[in-house]
Symmetry: D2
Subunit: 144 residues, 4 copies
């Protein structure tokens, strides 16, 4: 862990780890910013993420929220691929723009030994009003 930052993984290490554990969805989750208990990620929106009516699909938004919290936890505790989502709440509030990337901003509210809780706001890039919000609880496996 870097003594200067309190982070176990910096931005480049975090991106490398996400690409390694989620090879099927490489390029879906771009780490934009990492600090203690906080990350920002981007999903570049392409045709495959869209739904009729010119909006981004629900699973695309769910996935970005989920990876944001996962990334925020790993940035603090290091490479623990087995960390798993247990509980999710998710509110869809506005229609995301079809022609702009999706930005996720996640703050960890709790980082315990067993459970971590993170809050995420999702934005269409350039808009101030969030399109969705989510809270996710992650279970952290015991140290072996």
């Amino acid at each position: 862990m870097s003594q200067e930052t309190g982070l176990a993984l910096d931005k480049h290490e975090l991106q490398a780890f996400l690409d390694e554990v989620f090879p099927q969805v490489k390029n879906e989750f771009v780490v934009e910013h990492v600090e203690e208990m906080y990350v920002e990620l981007r999903t570049p929106i392409r045709d495959k993420h869209l739904r009729p009516g010119g909006t981004v699909s629900g699973p695309t938004m769910f996935a970005l929220c989920d990876v944001c919290v996962y990334a925020a936890v790993l940035a603090m505790i290091g490479r623990e691929a087995l960390t798993v989502t247990t509980s999710v709440s998710l509110d869809f509030m506005r229609k995301p723009a079809a022609d702009r990337d999706l930005i996720g901003k996640c703050r960890l509210l709790k980082l315990g030994k067993v459970l971590a809780v993170g809050d995420v706001l999702l934005y269409s890039e350039g808009d101030d009003a969030p399109v969705a919000r989510s809270t996710m609880t992650y279970a952290i496996p015991p140290k072996r």
Copy 2:
């Protein structure tokens, strides 16, 4: 609406409508059973749904829950593509099997004029213990 069943769409009409509004994900959601306030859908699991460690991805489970509630609402009210998810809760409870299809069983708990609420249990086909549960609220657009 069929007078015998109280359903606005039967199994085949519901499948046709889902394929029409979600052309990007055709063959992802197979309607297995429809009755009043209840549906069962299947997602045939293929490589693209998997994650390392031999499990089904979170977005795949989210998507099946979401489409289950949407389908249960449409079966009752008919073709209303604009019906949208507003609030979601989702609990992941067990690791889904990588080599079995995912089955979603959804019961509508409320079908109001403005809001509908549905509960979903997800199973790896052939298992009695659910891998996940979800509740989704849908907003129904006013009649034009």
Copy 3:
């Protein structure tokens, strides 16, 4: 644990334990039925539970859901007062009757070593349509 039933606490033991750990709210939670992974509890509705417009307050409904899941877990694992709620989802679907008791029916969907998940449906006694639903996750302390 009773060999006949798989229960760690029967109906009377469970009632005695709830009255012991929640002395402030004695008589608020009456155990009606206990079986493996399932309980039913009653809150006798009195003036103090009501809100203007002739309905039962949200905190009264929350409390019954919460105690239902707690009771369902304890019935299976025995007297573990330190078991705590971590995540809650709750949907209010219909207005409860002011002149009838509130009945909670809880099924445990998961009883793991660390986390338990229970689903609750709340009814105004005598009605078939649930007034609310809830899912609660409980963290179970490690064995000392």
Copy 4:
């Protein structure tokens, strides 16, 4: 509505309305601060709010979250007693202090014609780490 602030109810009007619609729980919810799309409320903690082990009860925390979002909505739209909670998520993260008041800080994330969504963080007064978080959706009745 005040032209200077965009608020339909100021701090004193909001307090008066809460005391009027919730006479049973007068003095439970003290409006500390109101601004556009944001409120802070206090629950003065007394013996009746406590549970064994020296902590604040779940229903006390639920009630403060719920009234925070209600107050934030009413501050913007005015006296609409019929505004009702529909969906709730709530995460308990730390044990609240038994000897300090509970502070709720609520930001409205959406204020639509039909639905409003608010995020709440709860604190034991003087602590930086939140004891709980909640998101609540409120349904706003149509204008008569």
